[in-house]
């Protein structure tokens, strides 16, 4: 499979300073963590992140100084960080340019991008400050891959009575990063459990990088193609990297790692300690085997999902 490459190659080939990036997954689930760490290690800067609800991968990228610009609905990691900590600090300190949308709005913008239509209507947000405040300045709005307007309100042309509709501009990120459970030897992607907005994000993008838990035979992935998520031709790079979403979870493979997420919260809250975290868990990591060794086989066994039930039954999640 010619698209198969290493983490290093995939990031080096497709992600540049200033790239617009969409992340698969959601808050604490199937975050493309291995890719995020590699982006940090390669010192890529000025990323423009386009997100619905994101947590761990986004927060690490912001904390490591890779992000210049952010369109987002939600920055949080469930009960482990109701608001993502480096995200919160970056906004409060004026370190990043940001623009708020809602989850449905961002998902619809990816849907529009995936359908190759320039905008999509919704009624969501009427009356809210999402439609009163613009985060991006006029200067930013002239830049590449930034919509010329946050939204447009128009009258529904199919009825005579007053009927306001919000038009949202499509999103077409430079690169979408996805972590999936299975990739077939033919390049077909299969995500198990919830897909969030991964499919729309992938189809909307110019480039799609997929990391995966397992590469499976063509005969297996094509036996029941109803279950598959993306055809091979939408995918540009495939990297096999088991536990590539740790410390976030991966349905039917492993749960989120509560110990790591709690530890992260403590480190993220303190600028100096956060540097130590990056040194220890990102910069200092030579390869993925070393990363998994640091997590420890003890914890890997604890978070191992029951493959039928999908999560780690009885895991201590405090």
């Amino acid at each position: 499979m010619e698209k198969l490459m290493t983490l290093d190659e995939a990031v080096r080939k497709f992600i540049k300073n200033g790239s617009q990036i969409a992340l698969g997954g959601f808050t604490v689930m199937r975050n493309p963590m291995a890719l995020a760490y590699e982006i940090i290690r390669q010192g890529i800067k000025d990323l423009h992140m386009v997100c619905h609800s994101h947590g761990q991968a986004l927060d690490v990228l912001i904390g490591a100084g890779c992000v210049k610009r952010l369109e987002i609905a939600y920055g949080g990691a469930g009960r482990y960080a109701p608001t993502c900590i480096r995200f919160k600090k970056a906004i409060q300190q004026g370190d990043i340019e940001f623009e708020d949308y809602s989850n449905y709005q961002m998902s619809l913008r990816f849907l529009a991008g995936s359908l190759n239509i320039p905008f999509i209507p919704t009624k969501s947000g009427l009356g809210s400050d999402l439609l009163n405040y613009e985060g991006f300045s006029k200067e930013i709005r002239t830049e590449r891959k930034v919509a010329t307007k946050k939204f447009e309100i128009m009258q529904n042309p199919f009825i005579d009575d007053k009927d306001d509709v919000v038009l949202l501009p499509a999103l077409n990120p430079d690169v979408t990063l996805i972590h999936a459970q299975y990739v077939g030897e033919d390049g077909t992607i299969r995500i198990k459990g919830l897909t969030f907005a991964d499919i729309e994000q992938a189809k909307a993008a110019d480039i799609v990088i997929v990391t995966c838990e397992e590469i499976v035979p063509r005969s297996y992935i094509r036996l029941d193609p109803d279950q598959n998520s993306l055809p091979p031709f939408f995918v540009d790079a495939i990297v096999k990297i088991p536990y590539g979403a740790h410390p976030t979870g991966c349905f039917a493979f492993y749960d989120y790692d509560p110990k790591h997420l709690n530890m992260y919260r403590v480190y993220a809250n303190d600028d100096k300690k956060f540097k130590e975290y990056l040194d220890e868990w990102v910069y200092g990591i030579k390869n993925h085997e070393e990363y998994l060794n640091k997590v420890g086989s003890d914890m890997l066994m604890k978070i191992k999902a029951n493959p039928v039930i999908g999560y780690a039954v009885g895991l201590d999640r405090r």
Partner: protein
Amino acid sequence: MALEYSDNEMMAISAGRFVKDGDIVFAGTGVSMLAATAAKRIYAPKAVIFFETGGIDPSLDEIPMAVSDLRVMSGTCLNSGLIEAFSIVGHRKLHTIAFLGAAQIDKYGNLNTTSIGDYHRPKTRFSGSGGACDVASFASGVITFMQHEKRRFVERLDYLTSVGWYKGGDSRTRLGLVRGGALAVVTNLGVMRFHDETKEMYLDEYYPGVSIEKIIENTGFEIDVSRAKQAVPPTEDELMTLRNEVDPQRLICKA
């Protein structure tokens, strides 16, 4: 003798009592997850709990700690995605009840989960809308969980993330939002509802051991308390179900 119970337990049960059989219940994280699950196990067995992430009617043998938790995808009738989930919230053939949390609320039930202070350089930044703005736009009714504090029950929100009754009266409908609105606010002190016509918040129930005065003191705007009555405390059955079936690991009940 009645059992002791935590604030979260009282809030979950107060909110759960609003759910009717057959309702489609949109749950967020935290107490909202507890309330939704409790409602289904105790009052409304035919209610369907679903999540903005796309998980519909999971078995919930363990309580999820995030709306993307693996536990919201296990034993469901369907695992889909965000677009599917939000189109369910607003579907005209479904009666959908949403549980939300917020940092600030005003007397019309509008919510702020975005920031305090200047929007562009906030004093405190929160997570942002997530699906809250969407759900507030589309659901048949919204129940909000709040810590009852003066700085949270405010005259004017720093940022209006999610529309409740907007400016009161029929202003919500005039925006173009054809249904829904704020149904109730459930706090650690009591339950607030909204006047049929003016859509202003009033005190409906205060919890046992909480005085009406305490609620007035902790509310940053004038609130009508003329119809207030004491809430029925959780029964032993309710508490046992909550503790043994909904949250056996006591991850949320305890707080």
